[in-house]
Symmetry: C2
Subunit: 237 residues, 2 copies
């Protein structure tokens, strides 16, 4: 169940939250946990809160960068309580659930940021979509594992009633393929001076958002890379 969906925690400060997250996941049938730069893991504090689900912690994979953690997924979805200025495509919770349940041939990461600061804007650029959990306007400080609990609950609840539609499966590119192309493009734009120290931040952002929205397939990325290669060859001839 949900074997194509990873829960990803980024820069988690409190090991107890990793244990609580494991428990939240397992109550809803999730078992695959990825950790990016946890402050303390493994930890007795994590284990103490993972009542009956040490197996989730034992199988958790630890990464030193978000890039590495997102690489093998086809779709990366970042959680954010704040509305960002960035025009990253947003999904509401139901749209997010439907996306995942309608495409069980794709690998998904559902990505949660640090307890106090959430996901950074540069982290969100690695996400195809952004999702916000609805909270009361006066106080939106969801605990990290509570946020994981709510999202996994929604998945579990909807999976019981969801009827998969039979549309043609998408051979979607992995994030690694897509981001390799984007970085290559950015490098090229530096080389061409289109991108300068002054505009690099805003341009990088626009490029990521554009290609994230494109829902690129593997063949399309290969084609784009072929185009870049041909340009590079020509430039460096």
């Amino acid at each position: 169940m949900f074997s194509n969906v990873h829960i990803v925690l980024v820069n988690t400060s409190h090991p107890g939250n990793i244990g609580s997250t494991a428990r939240a996941m397992k109550t809803m049938g999730f078992k695959k946990l990825l950790l990016v730069n946890p402050k303390e893991f493994p930890s007795a504090k994590s284990d103490a809160l993972a009542v009956g689900c040490i197996d989730v912690l034992e199988k958790a994979k630890v990464f030193s960068s978000l890039d590495d953690a997102v690489a093998s997924a086809n779709v990366n979805i970042g959680l954010s309580v704040r509305t960002r200025k960035a025009s990253i495509p947003t999904l509401n919770v139901n749209e997010c659930i439907n996306h995942v349940l309608s495409n069980n041939n794709l690998k998904y990461n559902i990505i949660f940021g640090n307890e106090s600061s959430g996901l950074s804007n540069s982290d969100l650029l690695k996400c195809d979509y952004m999702v916000s959990i609805p909270t009361h306007k006066d106080y939106n400080s969801l605990n990290l594992s509570a946020a994981v609990q709510l999202i996994t609950y929604e998945f579990y609840k909807h999976s019981n009633t969801h009827i998969s539609n039979k549309k043609k499966p998408i051979v979607r590119a992995t994030a690694k393929e897509k981001n390799y192309f984007i970085e290559s493009l950015i490098a090229l734009m530096g080389q061409t001076k289109f991108m300068s120290v002054k505009n690099s931040k805003s341009l990088t952002k626009k490029i990521y958002i554009l290609f994230n929205k494109a829902n690129l397939e593997s063949d399309e990325v290969n084609m784009l890379l072929g185009m870049l290669n041909s340009i590079n060859k020509k430039l460096n001839k």
Copy 2:
């Protein structure tokens, strides 16, 4: 918002869970917390986990018995992960939410039991309805504050879309009125020897369930009490 709904924690062992519950509540617009026999409260451990919502803890009311805590509510709803043998009326989560959102003239308690043992069978007899949160069959050990988070989230989510229907408001009896009648009836049944030491437990249960299901209005309880009184007068003449 949700000023007619109390969250009730019964026999809570870990003060940290009280703090986490306050936080879970406030993210979804709930502020009224009742505590029945908490092991440790007030507590620095509760405060530490109630980031930004000490106000909920400060206004929490502490009771020494569930009877006292449920007394002023019209409808008491108990959470249970287990399916009970007792035929207490059950609602699924959506039915529970609709019940509350359709009757904002009524006072509700949503009642959560102890971390390891949940609500006892005698606690559940004080509940008009029982609600279970769906969990995966292999592992149903929801953390206490996670359960509160899920229920309050469902309320908050649905309150944004719910259109209150204009049906005639019910002048529903309070639990205190109803339970006073039930206890009077049970006393009478002891007096009449209908209830013996041998059958008192199972009979008590059946009586509670019957009258809980009846959704008694205040006038009806008054009438029932009048009937009891008339019997008692006759018996003790």
